[in-house]
């Protein structure tokens, strides 16, 4: 199992806020979409390099559990159901 740096979560959060230029020259937002994982992984590496953090060779499945953790934290809290007082007995 690949052991990722402790800064990986910060790197992913930063990377998801960045953009990249696709092969057609258009600027695209980076997302967590697994079918478009390369821009995200590339930006995570940029974060590591910019912060001189050493990292092992990895791929998208390696960081997927951390992405899931971030997504879970971003989920809005369950709304508390309002207690409806019982009406008078018919």
């Amino acid at each position: 199992m690949v052991e990722m740096p402790v800064e990986t979560k910060d790197a992913i959060i930063w990377a998801e806020q960045q953009t990249y230029t696709d092969r057609g020259g258009d600027v695209q937002e980076i997302t967590f979409d697994p079918s478009d994982a390369q821009p995200l992984v590339d930006k995570v590496c940029v974060y590591f390099d910019d912060h001189t953090i050493k990292y092992p060779p990895f791929d998208y499945p390696t960081i997927r559990p951390i992405i899931d953790e971030i997504l879970a934290e971003q989920q809005p809290e369950e709304p508390i159901e309002e207690q409806i007082p019982e009406g008078p007995a018919e």
Partner: protein
């Protein structure tokens, strides 16, 4: 038609009907390939075309072989390999056939993919891509260790 069958209306206007199934296994025509998708290795099917993921944004940083083996039994006949690199160094791409009774066998000479290049490979590059194979192993290998970028590889074809 009165008396042909009995309607049993509920108070809310719906109609109930009892169904009895005895000594029978229910068999539903469900293709589990569309329900067992692995989010880490997406299998995308659009029309008759199906796609399987091999390397998924793999960051190659050394000179070691980076191998991923994928099941291509869902693809009938000709397969199309797409390798998308954002690595800052070239890599050699080699394909191996895998199956029952043999570990893996080379499908031919490797192809060199330039730094940041995209490779679209067909049976013109590896004739065995026409064959009905069980698995294909894709190997990426750099001669100079890349320091940035990643590589992705997918195989597409007509679903079997």
């Amino acid at each position: 038609m009165a008396g042909f069958y009995e309607r049993r209306e509920n108070g809310d206007g719906t109609v109930s009907q009892n169904v009895a199934v005895t000594d029978s296994d229910a068999v539903l025509p469900i293709d589990l390939r569309y329900h067992g998708m692995d989010p880490l290795n997406p299998l995308v099917t659009k029309g008759y075309v199906t796609q399987v993921q091999a390397h998924n944004a793999t960051t190659i940083r050394d000179l070691a072989n980076s191998d991923v083996s994928v099941d291509v039994s869902t693809i009938s006949g000709e397969k199309f390999v797409i390798v998308n690199s954002s690595l800052n160094q070239a890599v050699d791409v080699t394909l191996y056939a895998e199956g029952t009774g043999y570990t893996f066998a080379s499908m031919g000479a490797s192809k060199n993919l330039a730094a940041g290049g995209i490779g679209l490979y067909t049976s013109a590059d590896w004739p065995a891509l026409k064959a009905p194979l069980q698995k294909i192993r894709i190997r990426m290998k750099a001669s100079v260790a890349p320091t940035t970028g990643s590589i992705g590889a997918t195989i597409e074809g007509v679903q079997s």
